[in-house]
């Protein structure tokens, strides 16, 4: 059964747009839904949409015919009929420039992403993110902002020890208790983020060093400085010159993440070595 598709008047040309699929549950608070006509409350990651729209506005300011823009599509899993129209109306109410709305069942959402050539899927739900990554769909965590104030910059963070490790070293990770399936997942995750990195990199180049509405950041958690240096150069080779880089070499990650406050966190999953791995939980 095909998922419901509703298109708004805001549909943009897809072409070379950065199609970004976001879960409805993150943009709107669907828990406290009233039956009246008031719009839905803002969700945990609502400020992300504002930041993305600010980037698009700046892109168009530089070049009115800019093709490389964020095209946000909303994904709703298992939504009741009344919720669907509320979502549609709330998006309009807040002035969100959202091109397409997809409503599907939980089991179909990965296929829906693949069918729509989503360059990136974002969710605050880790299981959703890893489910997409396993299926080869580029996905990243949508982070809840500490406070919902308008952040000036859209911050995209790559937690990328894997990017700085060679194929041989990744294979050698089986000595850490990772199964062959997980090693495959690591390689798949690394492979499928390359396209997104290249697109973000190209978008970033539209702006100068200072006063950019988009900021790209690399963090390596476990590797030595050379792992971080290799990751920097690899990303550069893919077309992304990151603005900020942090090499933790075993230092705790959370204090740094709290300071950076990214919107998008692409996590290679490698640092989750303590035993309980989201990847491990997703038996195929």
């Amino acid at each position: 059964m095909d998922p419901d598709v509703q298109e708004s008047a805001e549909t943009q040309q897809s072409g070379s747009a950065l199609v970004t699929a976001v879960s409805c549950h993150d943009i709107f608070d669907l828990s406290a839904c009233q039956t009246d006509s008031s719009p839905l409350a803002k969700g945990a990651a609502f400020s992300f949409i504002n930041a993305v729209q600010a980037v698009n506005q700046r892109l168009v300011k530089h070049n009115a015919n800019e093709m490389l823009r964020f095209e946000v599509i909303l994904l709703g899993k298992d939504c009741e009929e009344q919720i669907k129209s509320k979502i549609f109306d709330s998006a309009k109410h807040y002035g969100l420039k959202i091109g397409k709305f997809y409503f599907c069942s939980r089991g179909e959402f990965v296929r829906t992403l693949q069918a729509n050539n989503a360059k990136l899927f974002l969710s605050t739900d880790r299981d959703d993110v890893y489910g997409a990554l396993k299926a080869g769909v580029p996905a990243a965590l949508l982070c809840q902002q500490a406070d919902q104030q308008v952040q000036e910059q859209l911050k995209v963070l790559f937690s990328g020890d894997l990017i700085g490790l060679s194929e041989d070293v990744i294979d050698g990770l089986k000595d850490f208790g990772f199964s062959a399936v997980q090693i495959q997942n690591f390689k798949a995750a690394k492979g499928c983020i390359q396209e997104f990195a290249a697109l973000i990199g190209e978008m970033r180049k539209r702006f100068g060093c200072k006063d950019s509405p988009l900021q790209t950041i690399l963090i390596t958690v476990l590797g030595s400085r050379d792992v971080c240096a290799t990751a920097l150069k690899t990303l550069r080779g893919w077309g992304l010159d990151v603005d900020e880089a942090f090499c933790l070499a075993g230092a705790p990650r959370n204090p740094i993440l709290t300071t950076i406050q990214p919107h998008i966190l692409w996590d290679d999953g490698l640092h989750n070595m303590k035993g309980v791995l989201p990847l491990m939980d997703m038996s195929s």
Partner: protein, 364 residues
């Protein structure tokens, strides 16, 4: 959390702490598996963390000129063009090498301990400039595994996140901010001539008032003169002075020194500390020594100059770093080849060579 760190740790719940311990165990295991000869960086919560900026670690005078005259974009391209050329050593370079020497002695005596120096590169630089910085660190084989390249953002929150014990920079605004946030910090100056420094012993020299101690007595000198100061100090000899911004760093050094004493290495200790103060031993020195004693701190050599210039004495000591709050002393030290670091704290900032500056000095 070890007591080497200031008690400013964010509240950690029991669950988080055991999670953090597991994370650390995993990080250790990962590093050990790499089978590299390089020693593993220590656990941040028990290490003495020293954050150095790129301009203090390396000589970036030429590069800075490009930034000032040709702008940021050109500066970043310039650095990328010269990426494979290692930068020359900067003012903090000898200090970093000395820290590495202490670490290797500590590792020999205590192979499993995480109480070591942890050197972090903390720079405002763009990450693309960072490649040249890492290449330079590789070239000199420096013991720096952790870094923050903030791409223009203030490093203060990162200093806190990294549990920094000491921050060295050339930027007075950032150092000021760090001190106000309770982190020991100083602005480094490159000496006018080169001095041969010890390669086996880290030597750190501190001024007393407004560096190790608060500026309470300094205020009396500036506002009421020396006679009032002497009388006040004698009267209050047994009342400990309040602590200054570098006291915790001296304390951290002391903890590491004790580890050598415990292994019978007092005579061969690779850390030596000096107090170099304008106070005179006879009239105002006792209070200083009693304060240190009340804090449980030792200083290896206390030198009371009774107002004589510090430069010549420092030339004899040859410290890897000398901390003072007054630019007058920093200048004097620098002229005679001492690596001096200015601590912009207290009433001394409002004076220049004993005269009150009419307006607050513009910070560059």
């Amino acid at each position: 959390m070890s007591d080497i760190k200031r008690g400013e740790a964010p509240a950690v719940r029991a669950g988080e702490e055991s999670g953090a311990e597991k994370d650390w165990a995993a990080a250790k295991a990962f590093y050990d598996s790499l089978k590299t000869k390089k020693p593993r960086p220590p656990k941040p919560s028990t290490a003495v963390t020293i954050a150095v900026s790129s301009r203090t670690l390396f000589d970036m005078v030429e590069e800075r000129r490009v930034w000032e005259q040709e702008g940021l974009e050109r500066y970043v391209s310039y650095q990328q063009e010269h990426e494979e050329e290692p930068l020359k050593p900067g003012a903090a370079f000898p200090f970093v090498k000395a820290l590495m020497t202490v670490n290797s002695r500590l590792r020999t005596l205590y192979p499993d301990s995480e109480e070591l120096f942890d050197i972090v590169l903390m720079t405002n630089n763009h990450a693309q400039v960072g490649v040249r910085l890492i290449n330079s660190i590789n070239h000199y084989d420096l013991l720096i595994e952790r870094f923050c390249m903030t791409g223009g953002k203030s490093p203060i929150d990162y200093l806190k996140a990294y549990l920094t014990n000491l921050y060295l920079s050339k930027d007075s605004d950032k150092v000021q901010e760090a001190i106000e946030a309770g982190i020991a910090a100083a602005i480094m100056f490159t000496p006018d001539m080169e001095t041969v420094l010890s390669e086996t012993q880290l030597r750190v020299a501190f001024d007393g008032d407004a560096v190790l101690f608060s500026d309470e007595s300094e205020i009396i000198v500036k506002q009421h003169g020396l006679d009032t100061f002497f009388a006040h100090e004698r009267q209050n000899e047994n009342k400990p002075l309040a602590q200054g911004p570098l006291k915790c760093f001296l304390e951290a050094l002391g903890k590491l020194q004790k580890k050598f004493y415990a292994k019978n290495e007092r005579l061969n200790c690779p850390i030596r500390t000096y107090l170099v103060t304008a106070r005179s031993a006879a009239s105002s020195g006792a209070r200083v020594l009693k304060t240190l004693r009340s804090w449980g701190l030792e200083i290896d050599e206390a030198l009371f100059l009774a107002g004589a210039p510090k430069g010549p004495l420092l030339q004899k000591i040859r410290p890897h770093i000398f901390f003072d709050d007054q630019m007058f002393h920093i200048q004097g030290a620098k002229e005679l080849g001492t690596i001096a670091a200015h601590v912009p704290y207290g009433i001394g900032q409002k004076y220049d060579k004993g005269k009150l500056i009419e307006q607050p000095a513009k910070r560059s």
